[in-house]
């Protein structure tokens, strides 16, 4: 396996029992997948790590049906997105609302910190504001925004991952960005 081996080739090799291909695939996608699920879960890293593991497990249990050379990345993020949605359906609404309120109420406390830490703390607070702003989006828009601007999937890949027409992906992206602009302007001012 080389760094230039495609995901599709690795997936095919895994379906034939290649453990080295599995290691290469996980090393390649562990970090971005963790980032995706961390953002989907509003910064809950522990939960994101659990979902990453579950994503790979679910992938593995169906890998023997993989149709080469079907694009692998949309399939991976389809699984991850479905798991995130399942979590939302099972999560307690009160806990979710509390999480949103906690994120939105996070205030930068640069006025109370030494100057040399000001940049780090501002960055951390800004991250909390962004996380909170993303959580205010409906899940349908949040998925599209995160897949586009953090995972850098193309519109076609997002459409395939979410089983949507490309036009729907575009419209959700547009509406989601506008809402985020409004929320972030209010929270970061």
């Amino acid at each position: 396996m080389t760094p230039t081996t495609t995901d599709e080739t690795l997936a095919l090799a895994i379906s034939q029992g290649d453990r080295g291909a599995l290691a290469a695939l996980v090393e390649r996608h562990h970090s971005p997948l963790l980032g995706f699920l961390d953002r989907m879960m509003g910064g809950d890293r522990a939960l994101a790590e659990d979902l990453v593991q579950e994503t790979f497990l679910r992938l593995l249990r169906t890998i023997w049906q993989y149709q080469y050379p079907r694009p692998f990345k949309p399939w991976l993020y389809m699984i991850a997105t479905n798991l995130a949605r399942d979590h939302y359906k099972c999560a307690d609404t009160q806990q979710t609302d509390t999480l949103i309120e906690r994120q939105l109420d996070a205030e930068p406390f640069i006025d109370h910190q030494p100057a040399q830490l000001e940049d780090d703390i501002f960055a951390d607070a800004e991250a909390q504001q962004v996380a909170g702003a993303l959580l205010t989006l409906p899940s349908a828009q949040r998925e599209v925004v995160i897949l586009r601007y953090y995972q850098e999937l193309s519109l076609a890949e997002i459409a395939e991952a979410l089983n949507l027409p490309v036009g729907t992906v575009k419209s959700r992206l547009s509406v989601g960005l506008r809402r985020l602009r409004d929320v972030l302007e209010r929270e970061l001012s």
């Binding site: 049906q65 949507l164 547009s174």
Partner: protein
């Protein structure tokens, strides 16, 4: 490199320059949120666990050697349901492909469809039994009216992103999408047909004046047409709710035609009475091409998404 590629492609840069700059600023703020990176140990631990899982998964499926010394790809069968169950439960003696496909899709179809269909059909039979005691009321009418809409709603909800919790399995399977959908259609329609038949048998046993097969024919033809119509609408709009609402609306209009014996017309076009005996052969004949069209559309939607990028 310009950042304009970050802007959603449906924005007009010329007319919305100020909006574009605001949105670019928003996108840059978003991108400043960096997610945590997993440690090398965490990745190694994950790989170790997954490799053990891979070993167990593949141990459940025997390798098929195509030639000596050259292990072939793991034999793929239509055992889609095996992927959804825990490793180790697969029984090699039950691998007749159509049966495996039916069992696999049985696990994927929403459980609410079975329960709701049975309850509503039961309600129809009960109402039929109660109203039959009233003078001048047709004993079979509630069942004839309810059976088609139950099937239509059930089939409408077979299609759509919200209806399939394990859609990635379907996208990974070697079976065509249309064959999967046909299997689900057969399952749900067959279930509703069985419910309608059971209700009809009960009614004919209690009311000897009713004949079984004419009664079945009275609801089967509209059920076939309305189900196919609802499913087609769901596929066209990628929304089962639209399919349900439109088919219900059509059926409510038909109830008006039957109960009040009126003719609904728009300008010079008279809307047909789908509950009439004359309409039954046409309804059955129309159902088949409607189902075929729906399956073709649902199968080609994936290709359309990729080509439209």
């Amino acid at each position: 490199m310009t950042d304009q590629h970050l802007i959603p492609p449906d924005f007009n840069a010329g007319e919305d320059a100020e909006l574009n700059s605001e949105l670019l600023a928003t996108i840059h703020i978003l991108k400043r949120w960096t997610a945590p990176e997993p440690s090398a140990d965490a990745t190694a631990h994950l790989i170790q666990g997954l490799q053990a899982e891979l070993h167990e998964t593949l141990a459940a499926f025997p390798l098929v050697s195509k030639s000596e010394g050259e292990p072939a790809r793991v034999k793929v069968n239509l055992s889609v349901g095996q992927a959804a169950r825990s490793v180790g439960e697969w029984n090699p003696s039950n691998n007749w492909p159509p049966l495996l496909l039916l069992r696999a899709q049985l696990r994927v179809v929403q459980g609410e469809i079975w329960i709701a269909s049975a309850l509503i059909m039961l309600l129809g039979v009960v109402v039929a039994l109660v109203t039959a005691r009233l003078p001048g009321e047709a004993a079979d009418l509630p069942l004839i009216l309810i059976a088609p809409v139950v099937a239509a709603a059930g089939l409408a909800f077979l299609y759509g992103t919200d209806a399939d919790p394990v859609m990635e399995i379907e996208h990974a399977t070697p079976v065509s999408w249309s064959l999967l959908m046909l299997t689900r259609l057969a399952l749900v329609f067959g279930f509703d047909f069985a419910l309608g038949l059971a209700g009809s048998v009960i009614l004919t046993l209690i009311h000897p004046s009713l004949s079984l097969w004419p009664l079945v024919g009275a609801w089967l033809a509209p059920m076939s047409f309305l189900s196919a119509f609802a499913f087609l609408i769901s596929v066209l709009f990628v929304d089962p709710l639209v399919g349900t609402i439109v088919s219900f609306g059509l059926w409510i209009m038909q109830a008006f035609l039957r109960f009040w014996n009126v003719t609904l017309s728009f300008q010079t076009i008279n809307l047909p009475n789908l509950l009439s005996e004359e309409a039954r052969p046409w309804l059955l004949a129309l159902a088949i091409p409607l189902f075929a069209l729906s399956l073709w559309l649902s199968d080609h939607r994936d290709s359309f998404i990729r080509r439209s990028s």
